[in-house]
Symmetry: C2
Subunit: 549 residues, 2 copies
């Protein structure tokens, strides 16, 4: 509710200032608070577009459709506007595509004088299954409140009404659950005010581009556009906030599409300003009620990817001023590496994994020892690149030798020269993640990289990527290793699979073998428009010679 939100911000301010101070009390960077202010000054004004529903749909069982449900158009939207919602009682409308924003409608009397309040339940769904899957009893591992269903009591009608909670959806289910026998009314003038900070129109792909690539690009752009709000959100349905890993991939895609570099700048400043009292960038921050960090959210791979994001931002914009101002933050993240790399050049995985969250992928049982070794080397390389662009490599002169040492250690301890594959853990686990990150870290020659990637794809027991986020790095590793056909095939197979299943936006999790997979134990709470899935936009547009033919 709007009033609610306003009150929250007003009343939340004090309590939140305490919350912030607990994170940045003796702020590590003397400019910390100023950076948050700078970030707030960069808050984009969102572009608004009024969308009208295209049709009334029925959601019907179809074993071939995604999650077994298909939306079938049964009538034009106008047919809703002429009839009694009391008689209709329940209806689902289709916006025609995925949008993020605010729903409004009118209620008009057909006969009688409204002598009582009426009650609706609205349900907003990104995919058809969300409209027909019972939410109760709820057994998901995260908050029930993420689900986009809500009761509304309307005390007086006729009138115009607006739902103040921002929703992300394509389909809207309207259930009338309370009305009076003494008057009749209809619902009409349904509108959805879509918002985004993606304002430019990316250039068309050449007509010669294969249809499937065109589709993947189009849906990828849609996904990115929906996630671009007042920050790079991970997903407009959930979690609706800034995570470093999502920002990294979104900002890469943004460079080759919407080019809203100001948004990247805002996010970089906000993350810097809300870093913890040791100067480490936290995995995620919140914009409301007041900008604040998730206390103690130390996510090692994300902290290190902050540096890569800053480097890419500088490379794309040549905005030296920002990069210079935030350089101390990038430099400070290297302390994470120094803390956990032993003299032998190997990451102390047990300790790192015990003291920080290592994410990498939604993949049960994934051993991240090789992944973090490779990612740290990648971060060192990126940070050194950044330093060179800023002419401050002297400030981190120890980095090149550290890189050498860590590469040697990786090869010596984790590389199987027979199979040409990286292994880790007592069970010598072989995963796509380990190979990808070691190659991202430049640990292998091109030839050896090609062998590792080819072999892992042939390997029966190798742990495959759990979702789109890890697929990005695997494809990046293939591209880096000049395995263009394989890169295109993996991208086309994985994202093309979502296209074939009717995706309007790309999903948080996708397993071609299991439509109902969920990291939260309840698939309707998954995000079906998720930032880290927009990455084909980056590949297709950065490497036309690979992906556009």
């Amino acid at each position: 509710m709007n009033t609610l939100l306003k009150k929250t911000i007003a009343a939340g301010a004090l309590s939140i200032l305490l919350a912030i101070s607990s994170v940045t009390a003796q702020n590590y960077y003397k400019n910390g608070k100023a950076w948050v202010t700078k970030a707030e000054a960069l808050k984009p004004v969102l572009k608004e577009t009024i969308i009208e529903p295209k049709s009334i749909v029925e959601i019907v069982k179809n074993k071939d459709a995604f999650q077994g449900w298909e939306a079938k158009a049964v009538a034009p939207i106008d047919s809703l506007y002429d009839q009694s919602i009391r008689k209709l009682n329940s209806v689902i409308v289709d916006l025609g595509d995925h949008y993020t924003g605010y729903f409004s409608f009118d209620l008009a009397t057909i006969w009688g004088s409204p002598d009582s309040p009426v009650r609706f339940r609205f349900t907003f769904g990104e995919v058809p299954s969300e409209l027909v899957t019972p939410y109760e009893p709820f057994n998901g591992g995260i908050s029930r409140a993420w689900l986009q269903d809500q009761e509304y009591n309307i005390m007086y009608l006729p009138g115009s009404y607006k739902i103040d909670r921002r929703m992300a959806c394509r389909y809207i289910k309207i259930d009338l659950i309370g009305s009076s026998p003494y008057f009749d009314f209809k619902i009409n003038n349904l509108k959805f005010k879509a918002v985004t900070s993606a304002k430019n129109t990316p250039k068309e792909l050449p007509a010669s581009t294969p249809e499937m690539i065109k589709n993947i690009d189009k849906i990828g752009l849609n996904t990115l556009k929906e996630c671009m709000q007042t920050v790079y959100e991970d997903g407009p349905k959930r979690d609706r906030r800034l995570w470093v890993g999502d920002m990294y991939l979104e900002s890469l895609a943004n460079v080759y599409s919407f080019e809203n570099h100001e948004l990247t700048k805002r996010c970089l400043y906000m993350l810097a300003g809300l870093s913890d009292d040791e100067g480490y960038v936290l995995g995620t921050v919140f914009e409301a009620p007041e900008p604040h960090a998730q206390a103690g959210q130390r996510l090692m791979d994300y902290s290190l990817l902050y540096n890569a994001t800053l480097k890419e931002y500088l490379a794309a914009t040549n905005d030296m001023e920002t990069a210079k101002e935030l350089w101390p933050v990038a430099k400070r993240q290297l302390a994470i590496i120094n803390q956990y790399v032993s003299d032998n050049g190997l990451v102390d995985y047990e300790r790192a994994n015990g003291e920080w969250w290592l994410f990498f992928d939604w993949k049960d049982g994934l051993n991240k020892a090789a992944g973090i070794q490779g990612l740290m080397i990648f971060a060192l390389n990126e940070t050194y690149e950044l330093a060179k662009l800023l002419n401050v490599e002297n400030e981190i002169s120890e980095v090149p030798s550290l890189i050498k040492k860590m590469k040697r250690a990786a090869l010596k301890n984790m590389y199987n020269f027979k199979t040409g594959l990286f292994e880790c853990g007592d069970d010598h686990q072989i995963s796509y993640a380990s190979q990808a990150w070691m190659i991202m870290g430049d640990v292998l020659s091109e030839k050896a990289s090609q062998k590792a990637l080819a072999n892992v794809m042939k390997h029966q027991e190798a742990l495959q990527p759990g979702g789109p986020y890890m697929y990005h790095y695997f494809i990046q590793a293939l591209v880096k290793s000049n395995m263009y056909d394989e890169a295109k095939t993996v991208l086309t197979d994985f994202w093309g699979g979502m296209v074939d299943k009717g995706a309007d936006t790309f999903w948080e999790v996708y397993d071609p073998t299991n439509d109902l997979i969920s990291p939260y134990g309840f698939f309707p709470i998954n995000s079906y428009c998720h930032a880290w899935s927009c990455t084909p936009v980056y590949f297709i547009r950065k490497y036309p010679e690979i992906f556009q033919k």
Copy 2:
């Protein structure tokens, strides 16, 4: 929701103006619209009182308690403020009395950073049963939306929150139905902003007054106070609007208690301004989204009681100006009588009952032929009294002879000289309503009145009053007939019954033999604070010699 309401008023204005014009287009009274404006100018500023819950209660089965449920205090309210609402999950708090207004609360973090929205369901109850009776599946005869339960999603916390729907309740149930395992929080600073237009403090009853009378008076005052909002409402939970019959009894009680005569004046002007295009006062009108009448709501006994209300207002205030201005309305209501009284002086009951709603009481099978005959004569008497106070009796000089004719017809056609009782219908139905209204109409001598009332109370098959509203007229008839002991006994037995069952305010319907009776097929939707039940305040304070000893 507040925003919703504002939008409704804003956007509803247009559509409502149409609605009004359809009722008062060629307004019968040239001042009709001006009267509505005058009523709006008289809208009272409500007195606000901040109430804090007194305790945490459990609602437990108790076959001796009203409707089988009793609220037992189990802990002081402060004990709620120290603990996790996530662990508690569900709690019921007690405001200590019935209040009408707005609920607000704070949410504060205990540990972690709120990483998700939370969802509550709040349920507001006037009586304990409303908190523990399942509302689904709902089979009531009126809108489900009247029930005071509601889901709320809170997107950001900590903060302060306010529920913008006005509630009428003593008990508030808080159910947490969505939260995150990654942070904990508590609910505190619960407040209820109580509102009323009853501002004066009525004078204390003498210490010598019997306890039960003191209790009935106290609860009656509470009931009246709660129903006095920006109009005389029928009930603050339901229907939250102005009905003529309720207004009549409330304004009578108001004269002897809160003395807010401006409120009566506002209601008289609003009803006059919103009367239909034949000048008939409608049974009920609405304040929002814009003042308007319930189209075609012709309620004959209520239209006629408008005149009695205006007369009582003048008698209490000597406000000749208002009475003069509204006199044409009173005069016009007499046309209803002339339309339905045949040459023989008898009301054409079939036609009247077919063309208008005759209410009188919630009582199945009640034949209202004698009732309407008596009520019309009563209305004629009251209107003639009003005319005399205004020195305009010449304008209705035909009234006295009409009264005579109608009395004669009543005695000739409906009075059983053997039994001394009025009968009506083919089955010679005998009811309290028939006797009461004939006596209100002054049809019988005092002696005959006493006989009729004594006999009806002895009569086994006589239809008794169905609820408080009819009990008022029956008691008034007893008082009128100098049957003081009986009047006091009936009042003490009936309202005392509610007192003994723990009423905080008097109820819309009360049947000593059936706690679960409901005119709507579902007792939780009954109003448990209902205007027409406040009438003991009037009897006790107007007739101290009868009721205060």
